[in-house]
């Protein structure tokens, strides 16, 4: 430890659930840099709630692997950021502690589920933040708030200490104002961790290079078709044109499995959630159940009153999808569909180096605009394929539509996180 920074943010966007007023920092790559951490990542001695009433007051007795790495790099943990409860949402409105507002337009959502992390960076409160991305939860808020966000390849960043929602899909990743900041934070958090059995020994030691000469970019027709706002599509096409001017070539392609990718994603994540969230019963942490009642009634009461509507909906959907008689129709089919998504990407990546398209089909929604769950789920259509396949994907700001930021999404081959970073960097350097 070689100092401390005082941190008293003006949190007018409700980006934080808690902040450290004065926090120590050490020496290293991030010495003295204030980093915000999404509230589903465990921080020893600092309340970690997943924006849920069921974890109100929970103080983790240990640090997530990535938090230990941040501290070792000298960073200051500036605070814990708001999110959709347990990461379940696309707007950060599903927080039990009120929505986060988009710093670009406070009548709009910041995106989700890592909306607090994105808003904190976009508002200039912190330079970088950690989020987690299960189906777009880093890239969506990065796009909506006009910043950069990377979902790493599955296995490159340890999930130890990330409070699990959907293990097979989620990854912790960096958000920042610039590609360089995102790359620097990635270099701190990536690498092998024996506490996560899906961890890969693939450290990230990379300095972004702005060279796309000869790069082949796949342009999937599904990313510019039905459901995608034409103005958003036009902004993204122009950005891809910029990459062509820099020496890249584009190749039209198709991802037929996109037809059922979203359904496969929601069946998989709700099924995993129904199992993961069974642990919240008030016995080891959380609000005290009334033990005068039978255990079944006591658990039902504490879970019913402490989980929000979306969390209960997803637990129930997953319980239903896994129940006998329906497993074959939902879960088993979703896993076949997931393999088909992987196969489509493998086929396309034989001919192209990266795939580009919009991060989100629209600009940031107005607050309360997505009140119907299914219409909110549909907004994830362009981000979930990367999670199903496990591949790296970055969102970089590429212009505006109706005055709101638009994100260019670049997806790469498995473990080629460095390449998607380089393409985003080339674009960013060309336009700035």
């Amino acid at each position: 430890m070689d100092g401390s920074i005082t941190f008293a943010p003006d949190d007018r966007y409700n980006a934080f659930l808690s902040t450290s007023t004065s926090a120590p920092h050490g020496t290293g790559k991030l010495s003295g840099v204030a980093v915000a951490v999404k509230d589903n990542i465990s921080t020893r001695g600092i309340e970690t709630t997943c924006a849920s009433k069921i974890l109100k007051g929970y103080i983790p007795p240990y640090d997530a692997h990535v938090v230990g790495l941040l501290k070792a790099a000298g960073a200051t943990i500036a605070g814990k950021t708001n999110m959709d409860e347990f990461g379940m949402g696309t707007t950060t409105e599903n927080s039990a502690f009120g929505p986060t507002l988009n710093p670009c337009d406070t009548t709009r959502v910041p995106g989700g589920s890592s909306g607090g992390s994105a808003a904190a960076v976009a508002a200039g409160i912190v330079r970088m933040a950690l989020g987690s991305d299960t189906g777009g939860s880093i890239r969506c808020p990065a796009a909506f708030c006009g910043i950069v966000g990377l979902k790493p390849s599955y296995g490159r960043v340890s999930r130890y200490g990330l409070i699990a929602y959907s293990n097979s899909l989620e990854q912790i990743g960096p958000l920042g104002k610039t590609v360089t900041d995102v790359s620097t934070l990635m270099s701190v958090i990536a690498g092998y961790d024996r506490h996560d059995s899906t961890s890969q020994n693939k450290p990230y030691n990379h300095t972004p290079k702005a060279d796309v000469k000869g790069l082949k970019i796949g342009i999937p027709q599904e990313y510019f078709g039905k459901g995608v706002d034409p103005d958003v599509a036009a902004v993204v096409k122009k950005a891809i044109g910029r990459l062509e001017e820099l020496g890249a070539t584009t190749v039209p392609c198709s991802i037929p499995s996109m037809e059922y990718a979203l359904a496969a994603y929601y069946v998989t994540c709700t099924s995993e959630a129904s199992s993961n969230l069974a642990r919240f019963d008030g016995v080891r942490y959380g609000p005290a159940p009334d033990w005068k009642k039978s255990w079944h009634d006591a658990f039902r009461d504490v879970r019913g009153s402490s989980f929000g509507a979306e969390v209960r909906r997803r637990i129930m959907l997953g319980t239903f999808a896994l129940s006998s008689g329906y497993y074959g129709k939902y879960y088993a089919k979703a896993q076949v569909a997931r393999e088909n998504v992987r196969a489509d990407f493998n086929r396309i990546f034989r001919d192209v180096d990266v795939i580009a398209g919009p991060t989100m089909p629209t600009i940031a929604f107005k607050l309360k605009e997505k009140s119907d769950p299914l219409s909110m789920y549909l907004a994830d259509i362009l981000t979930v394929p990367a999670n199903l396949a496990g591949i790296p994907s970055i969102s970089v700001p590429c212009g505006k539509s109706q005055g709101m930021p638009v994100g260019l999404q670049i997806m790469g081959r498995m473990f080629e996180d460095e390449r998607v970073v380089d393409v985003a960097y080339a674009y960013e350097q060309a336009v700035n």
Binding site: T198, R313, M316, T319, K333
Partner: protein, 89 residues
């Protein structure tokens, strides 16, 4: 189509406590979502991963653990160094 009774049954299996006022809305939303999931009927083939999947196992080695006091800190009910859970019999 799932009925309000089905949703009530699932809520009981999952211990998530749906109130009577919420039941109608939940059932309506459930049906809209399940109808969308029907698109999976078009997926051909059976569950068979192309990739080679393997389990990652390790030896069960005793290591220093967190102090008992810290581990119990978040539990609402405890007694003699144990977490107190409800009677299940």
């Amino acid at each position: 189509m799932v009925t309000e009774n089905d949703v009530q049954h699932i809520a009981e299996l999952a211990d998530v406590g749906i109130s009577t006022e919420e039941l109608g809305t939940f059932t309506h939303q459930f049906n809209a979502i399940l109808e969308y999931f029907d698109i999976l009927d078009r997926v051909e083939g059976s569950e068979q991963a192309e990739r080679e999947l393997y389990n990652v196992l390790r030896e069960d080695v005793v290591e220093p653990s967190l102090p008992q006091e810290e581990v119990l800190r978040n539990a609402p009910y405890k007694e003699d160094g144990f977490i107190k859970a409800p009677r299940v019999m």
